[in-house]
């Protein structure tokens, strides 16, 4: 009971009731205290209901009566199911008050535990702190520049804004190639001369930006390499260096191919010069703006002549207009004519050269072709000559030689076939061995790929579990710190301990009760059995004796004694049973007396009588007032 009271008192203190330290249990609550506590609770639970209710009892008896009634009504509105009325507050009993207070305290809205809903983690805490700081800054009113205090300088002036510039930094530790050893000179430089990161930059403001950039770059490189290695690198079964080297050559090849396909293929053909001339003629044609073919190069159309004219005139227009017009005109005409002549000469030269080139390329091709053909023919003829020579040598003795040749050919054929079969004896086992080893290899390949996939799965599992473990550790740390920061008024451990003790006690009691019940049942069964036995025995004896009682006198006497004995024993048993019942009644009555005593009925009655007298006095006073006026 004490723990319950302690909890109630604590809760009531939290709601705002003023409780002195002497108040140890609900028994000590006075009516005023009760009213104050209940009203405060109701105010928290339901502000609408609670506001009209006063926290202290007014002095007048009827007012007190009214307040009690309204309180009782309010409690019932909230949902209290027990019996409640003005008497609960004015003439309180411990049990009633306890149950009412427990109900009200339970109804109090619980504070939301903020911490358990929000995500945990250091970054979350940091973000929450940032959010809180920004919120606070936003809440601050904006002041014109003259009125600003120095502490606003950081948040409200424009001067502090910097754009996000970054500069490359030189750091001694590089993630790029962990296997590569740096040279001794580089190490010395890094140790003796390399300024620290903050001094490497021109602007102090770019430090943060540069560092962030550097770290993000390194992190992303490492992340990408990690991902790539785990997905493709492991599959390729190469060492990291080999894998990187292979990747490098592959990329280079691709770049080469792209460049090759993108660049226009040179217009070289087997007739080498033809390409160059076609280029040249293209250029010339574009110069002139005509689509004539090679054979019309010698002809110049009216159009081309006029084009030439305009072309030369343009070059003439450049010299300064500051010359005198008459002389200018003449000299210009002369220059124009000579230039035109030169140009025509050049054009015709170019045309000639083009045609010559073409002709030469065609003849060149022809000559090459002829040359190759002749070479081939030469070779063939040489072979034929050899053959014919040998035949001619053999001609004199033609018949014999033919036979000999035949025999020779057959012998060679036989020998070759023989050699082939010998070779086959060597070759076949080798090929079989090769195939067998290949099979083994592919089986091993399958197994190793299976193992690789298993490794991958394990990797993933490891990664997931490390993340979870990290998270759980962080949560644990956070919760521990929160636990330490929580108020230590209430020892939850003690309560849980008590509750567990009570539960075990109850369990034990339950066991004992069941034991006793079973014992009782057993006894009852025995009693029933014995009673039955007794009745049956008596009946049998009765009959027996009665039968003989008619004849014999002594038997009649013994029969009378038997009946009396049975009667007396029955009475004894009855008395014992009655005694037991009466004892039970005594116990019940004693319990009732106890409960009635705790009700403080006598004290309450006296109070009620007094209050009744007070009300009667008030009534009479009021009636007198009314009569007076």
């Amino acid at each position: 009971m004490e723990e319950v009271d302690k909890i109630l008192i604590l809760a009531l203190k939290q709601v705002g009731t003023e409780l002195s330290e002497e108040v140890g249990s609900v028994k000590d609550f006075t009516s005023e205290l009760i009213v104050e506590a209940v009203v405060r609770c109701i105010r928290v639970i339901d502000p609408g209901l609670g506001s009209p209710l006063p926290t202290s009892l007014p002095p007048g008896m009827s007012a007190r009566f009214r307040v009690g009634m309204s309180l009782a009504q309010a409690c019932q509105d909230i949902g209290y199911k027990g019996e409640i009325g003005y008497q609960t507050f004015l003439y309180s009993s411990e049990t009633e008050i306890r149950s009412l207070l427990m109900f009200l305290v339970e109804k109090l809205p619980r504070e939301n535990a903020e911490a358990s809903d929000q995500p945990t983690g250091k970054s979350a805490i940091l973000q929450r702190a940032i959010a809180a700081a920004i919120k606070a800054q936003l809440v601050e009113p904006w002041l014109p520049p003259n009125c600003r205090l120095p502490l606003h300088g950081e948040t409200q002036s424009l001067g502090v804004m910097h754009s996000f510039h970054k500069q490359p930094l030189s750091l001694p530790y590089c993630i790029k190639d962990p296997g590569k050893k740096s040279l001794k000179e580089v190490k010395d430089y890094q140790r003796d001369f390399l300024p620290p990161v903050t001094a490497q930059l021109a602007h102090n403001a770019t430090v943060a930006a540069s560092l962030l950039e550097q770290h993000t770059a390194e992190l992303s490189v490492a992340q990408e390499w990690y991902n790539e290695w785990n997905s493709q690198g492991l599959l390729s079964r190469l060492t990291p260096q080999d894998y990187r080297a292979r990747k490098l050559t592959r990329l280079r090849k691709r770049i080469e191919e792209q460049l090759r396909s993108a660049a226009l293929p040179p217009t070289e053909s087997a007739f080498g010069g033809l390409g160059a001339t076609s280029d040249l003629s293209d250029i010339l044609q574009s110069f002139r703006g005509s689509a004539a073919s090679a054979h019309t190069l010698t002809k110049g159309s009216h159009f081309t002549h006029s084009q030439k004219f305009t072309f030369t005139q343009e070059t003439e227009a450049v010299p300064s207009p500051a010359r005198r017009t008459d002389d200018n005109h003449h000299s210009q005409q002369e220059e124009l004519a000579s230039l035109q002549q030169q140009f025509q000469q050049l054009c015709s030269d170019v045309d000639q050269l083009t045609t010559e080139l073409k002709h030469l390329s065609v003849t060149n091709a022809q000559v090459l072709d002829e040359f190759k053909q002749r070479e081939r023919q030469n070779n063939e003829l040489e072979e034929k000559i050899q053959l014919k020579k040998k035949t001619v040598d053999l001609l004199p003795d033609a018949e014999n030689n033919i036979v000999k040749l035949q025999a020779l050919v057959e012998a060679s054929a036989q020998r070759v076939v023989n050699l082939a079969s010998q070779w086959e004896k060597h070759r076949a086992p080798l090929i079989d061995e090769h195939r067998r080893l290949k099979e083994i290899c592919s089986n091993q390949d399958m197994e190793s790929s299976k193992k690789l996939s298993e490794i991958k799965v394990l990797h993933d599992k490891i990664r997931v579990s490390t993340e979870e473990a990290k998270k759980k550790e962080e949560i644990h740390k956070q919760l521990v710190t929160e636990l330490e920061s929580l108020p230590k008024d209430v020892s939850r451990a003690a309560y849980t301990q008590r509750i567990l003790e009570i539960v075990s006690n109850i369990k034990k009691q339950k066991e004992e009760i069941t034991k006793i019940l079973s014992d009782t049942k057993q006894l009852q069964k025995e009693i029933n059995g014995l009673t039955g036995k007794l009745d049956r025995t008596f009946a049998v004896t009765d009959e027996l004796v009665f039968k003989d009682a008619k004849k014999d006198e002594s038997v009649r006497k013994s029969y009378k004694y038997l009946a009396a004995l049975h009667e007396n024993c029955n009475q004894l048993i009855q008395t014992i049973e009655d005694t037991g019942t009466i004892l039970r009644e005594i116990r019940d009555l004693e319990e009732q007396i106890d409960t009635e005593n705790s009700n403080k009925t006598v004290a309450n009655l006296e109070k009620i009588l007094e209050d009744y007298k007070a009300i009667r006095q008030e009534n009479s006073a009021l009636a007198a007032k009314v009569r007076e006026g």
Binding site: A270, S293, E370, K372, A420, E424
Partner: protein, 354 residues
């Protein structure tokens, strides 16, 4: 019995064997007498067993470095002593162009190998053909090299199909072949490519030169290097990328879409005029005539070519040294296209004065 057609029996160069086994590996397992490593790589790339797609080509042939190769592929079926082999290809390299002959020989060799499981038997057949020109085949009858005349090989393609597919544009092909230009033909299916390209050299029948034919070329450095050494050729590609390689051809034939394009730098040499129109009409007429067979059509074309060459010959005789000069041609006042054509034709026929 001896076959004294020495040129024929000495045309076979080598024989090779490629196997594909249950591990999925394709290996060059045996050859006689020898095949150079570069040529071996090329042959492996031509064999359909090395290609990742599931296409199975029973017979392909091509030319590399003036040697013809003929590859027959068969799936190994029971009964056979070859336990770990799923497919096999037999490669015969030779100096002459005769797909039918070598296809037949290949089939015999393949079947022999599958039946006996040992290349020794194959070799016996090969030596027999090499020395005597005849061998017994497992099926009834025997294989005789003299049954396979080279002329039949030249005429085996169908010129009528070419004309029916391209119509008047066949004249472009004719001009290119006559002028010894480079033609690139593309078709995704190798059999169609082989069938089409093998008949094109017949357009210049008077030369009977099938060494300009390279019906199966991959875009690899080795092959392209050897190809570029030939001044004029008819090359077939399965790779559609070849349309971007304008350095490889003067005329590009897109066979599935039936489109012929002349590349920019050859347009000037391939200029066509009235003469070409006449020739084109002649070809069309001859091909559409249902009573004339393929060989007749080729004969007609070659007659016309001979006509033109005879004309050119008379012109050449008018010059000194029997060689035409450009000036002489110009004096004849032909229309420019014809003049250009005759000029280049003279160069191709090697009667131009250098």
């Amino acid at each position: 019995e001896w076959n004294m057609a020495a040129t024929e029996t000495q045309s076979m160069l080598s024989i090779g064997l490629i196997e594909k086994d249950v591990n999925g590996d394709t290996l060059w397992v045996w050859c006689y007498p020898a095949v150079g490593s570069e040529f071996r790589q090329v042959l492996l790339s031509k064999c359909c067993l090395t290609q990742n797609n599931e296409d199975f080509h029973t017979f392909v042939f091509g030319q590399f470095c003036r040697s013809w190769y003929y590859i027959s592929t068969l799936e190994v079926q029971e009964p056979t002593p070859l336990k770990k082999v799923t497919h096999l290809s037999v490669v015969i390299t030779a100096k002459d162009f005769n797909p039918e002959k070598y296809a037949a020989l290949n089939r015999i060799l393949c079947r022999m190998y599958i039946k006996y499981g040992s290349p020794v038997k194959m070799m016996e057949v090969y030596i027999a053909v090499l020395t005597k020109g005849i061998c017994q085949s497992e099926e009834n009858g025997s294989f005789l090299t003299k049954d396979y005349d080279v002329r039949k090989a030249f005429l085996a393609g169908s010129i009528k199909d070419v004309v029916s597919q391209f119509g008047m544009e066949t004249i472009i092909l004719y001009t290119a072949v006559i002028l010894k230009k480079r033609i690139a033909v593309h078709h995704p299916r190798i059999e169609a490519l082989l069938e089409f390209t093998r008949v094109l050299p017949a357009l210049s029948w008077h030369r009977k030169d099938w060494s300009i034919l390279h019906p199966y070329v991959h875009l690899t450095d080795t092959e392209l290097e050897h190809l570029s050494k030939c001044p004029g050729y008819i090359a077939g590609f399965v790779d559609p990328e070849v349309s971007n390689r304008s350095d490889l051809f003067d005329v590009y034939v897109n066979l599935p879409d039936s489109i012929i394009t002349v590349s920019q730098n050859a347009k000037e040499a391939m200029m066509m005029g009235k003469l070409h129109k006449d020739i084109g009409h002649l070809i069309l007429q001859s091909a559409e005539d249902t009573e004339r067979s393929d060989s007749h059509v080729i004969k007609d074309i070659s007659l016309k070519t001979k006509q033109i060459l005879a004309h050119l010959g008379t012109l050449a005789d008018q010059c000194e040294g029997s060689k035409i000069t450009l000036e002489h041609l110009k004096q004849q006042n032909f229309p420019p296209a014809t003049e250009n054509f005759l000029f280049h034709l003279a160069a191709a026929e090697q009667i131009l004065l250098v």
